[in-house]
């Protein structure tokens, strides 16, 4: 998937702020970004990657974890698509459209992986094994989107949810079988872009309107316990020890702290 260079400066960091934001929020930028890691992949991995899928109880645990990743990605897909309607400008709408396609792809590759692991009806399996805390998170996220609260919804979606997924997927990928590892690594690359958008968008808004900070702190407080519950369940399902849970919790909190929200 070779893309032509866009008609902007070679180094995006040489652009002024407005031109930079226009560039990184564009479809053209998305196109160039995904080119490297999606080209030649089928459902998120190289077709020639060796299948070292786990067996027995370990396989069942992996299926359960992937099912809950699907719950998170469904929340992200529905959240991002709803955010397009309330985005404050067309640049943000176009970025969110690229995010919608990313989230849809994540859901598709994860469902495909679950199917590869021998599950006949992955969607039914996801519904059966969905974590209560993640479902509650999704419910609250969609409430924020429906209430048209742009700052709170983008905070819940592109900072809290994406930071949680980023931390968990990155950690899981390190210890996963080769196919799952490639699938997760590709997703993590997208999440980095989504978090960047959220941090940038909210960073500017918090600077211009510091009075929104207490409202966002309240959203964080409300969602934190759901995030920590989901983390604990995933760590347990993956068979990781408590130190990893603490490390992931710190990684998640670190993303939120970058916006000045301390635990």
């Amino acid at each position: 998937m070779h893309r032509a260079s866009p008609p902007v400066a070679e180094d995006v960091h040489e652009l002024d702020e407005t031109a930079f934001l226009e560039h990184v929020h564009s479809f053209e930028f998305w196109f160039q970004s995904v080119e490297g890691y999606l080209s030649g992949r089928t459902f998120g991995h190289r077709p020639e990657t060796a299948d070292g899928s786990p067996v027995g109880a370990e396989r069942a645990r992996l299926i359960g974890v992937l099912c809950n990743y699907c719950v998170g990605e469904t929340a992200a897909l529905e959240g991002a698509s709803g955010l397009i309607a309330i985005a404050p400008n067309h640049m943000a709408k176009i970025f969110l459209a690229t995010q919608v396609a990313d989230e849809g792809r994540h859901l598709e590759v994860l469902l495909h992986r679950i199917s590869d692991l021998g599950v006949a009806d992955p969607e039914a399996e996801v519904a059966r094994r969905a974590s209560r805390s993640l479902l509650l998170f999704k419910h609250r996220l969609l409430e924020l989107v429906s209430s048209k609260d742009w700052e709170a919804a983008i905070f819940a979606q592109n900072v809290i949810l994406e930071a949680l997924e980023f931390a968990v997927f990155q950690s899981h990928a390190r210890a996963a079988d080769p196919i799952t590892q490639e699938v997760l690594t590709g997703i993590v690359k997208d999440e980095r872009r989504h978090i960047g958008f959220g941090e940038n968008e909210l960073g500017r808004r918090l600077k211009a309107a510091p009075h929104i900070r207490p409202r966002l702190a309240q959203v964080k407080k409300e969602l934190d316990h759901l995030v920590f519950d989901a983390l604990a369940e995933t760590i347990q399902d993956l068979g990781m020890d408590a130190s990893e849970r603490d490390r992931l919790a710190r990684a998640y909190l670190g993303s939120v702290e970058r916006l000045g929200f301390t635990p």
Binding site: P6, W30, L77, E78, G82, K93, I94, A97, V100, L107
Partner: protein, 294 residues
């Protein structure tokens, strides 16, 4: 249904669109291509290109709002994922047509005011009828309005514009070719997915038919505004005469657009779109309703 939706997967989309017909393009056209000097130098033609491109931006903004809004109303995961690809397609269309406005000399700071000033009120009404259904999370009406009526209209309009621009403006013709390929996929999904839902919910037919009739009227009114009393008509005639002298023709649905008066072109376009509506709606079990003629 699962098998049909597999054809509309994101994997298929990635292979056919970004890794297929959009490969080696920049804002939908071959890198380095530009708008024709003759048009940029002729203020009447340039203004007309701005006005017509604004309608494309307005239509695509509506399509972006509708496709993203329908994701949360979709009754199954496969449809949500297809609509995720459509959302990105529509965003790309907004971007490439907005870029064309900039290429035509519209200043960035003036974009929104130029769009507001030139947006056809009938096209805005057309969009409002559809987005009202989307806001109500009415998936059946939303998909018929979006993927059959709006996309059907866009498909035929783009094809006609493509025929007219192929010889005169390869850059714009290339941009249109990519959007036509996208619209074909969107229409296919609409027909395939909604047919079964209409069978399950026959009580929804009357409401959907009323929406089609209303949207069709606003579409025809938009066409009328675009073709009748066009300020660039005299300039178009000169270009058509030059093309004919060179033996170049703009073929569309078996007619030569270069030898037609604007009213004739309007009639060809309207008949083509309405005939397509009738065929496609018939396939999904909806009875086509003839709109009033503006």
């Amino acid at each position: 249904m699962a098998d049909f939706l597999a054809a509309y997967s994101i994997q298929n989309w990635l292979e056919s669109c970004p890794q297929g017909y959009l490969e080696d393009t920049e804002f939908g056209h071959t890198p380095g291509e530009s708008e024709p000097e003759e048009m940029l130098a002729n203020e009447v033609l340039r203004q007309e290109a701005v006005r017509s491109t604004v309608q494309l931006v307005v239509g695509e903004r509506c399509a972006l709002a509708a496709s993203s809004g329908l994701i949360n109303a979709a009754p199954d995961e496969g449809s949500k994922r297809f609509l995720a690809t459509q959302t990105l397609d529509e965003a790309r269309h907004v971007e490439v047509f907005t870029q064309r406005l900039l290429d035509l000399g519209v200043r960035k700071n003036d974009l929104e005011s130029v769009i507001s000033a030139h947006a056809n009120p009938n096209l805005v009404k057309f969009a409002e009828v559809l987005l009202e259904k989307v806001d109500k999370k009415d998936f059946i009406a939303g998909v018929v309005g979006q993927n059959i009526v709006l996309e059907g209209m866009a498909f035929s309009v783009f094809e006609m514009m493509h025929a007219l621009n192929q010889a005169m403006n390869p850059k714009f013709a290339h941009t249109l070719a990519g959007t036509i390929a996208d619209e074909r996929r969107h229409i296919g999904f609409g027909e395939n997915r909604i047919g079964s839902l209409i069978k399950e919910h026959p009580e929804r037919k009357a409401d959907v038919e009323q929406m089609q009739k209303e949207m069709s009227y606003y579409m025809l009114a938009t066409f009328a505004d675009a073709f009748r009393n066009n300020p660039a008509e005299a300039e178009f005639e000169k270009i058509e005469q030059r093309l004919q002298a060179k033996g170049i023709h703009a073929k569309y649905n078996g007619v030569d657009l270069t030898s037609m008066a604007p009213e004739q072109m309007e009639a060809v376009l309207a008949d083509t779109v309405l005939k397509e509506f009738k065929t496609r709606l018939g396939r999904i079990g909806i009875e086509y309703q003839s709109p009033q003629r503006p």
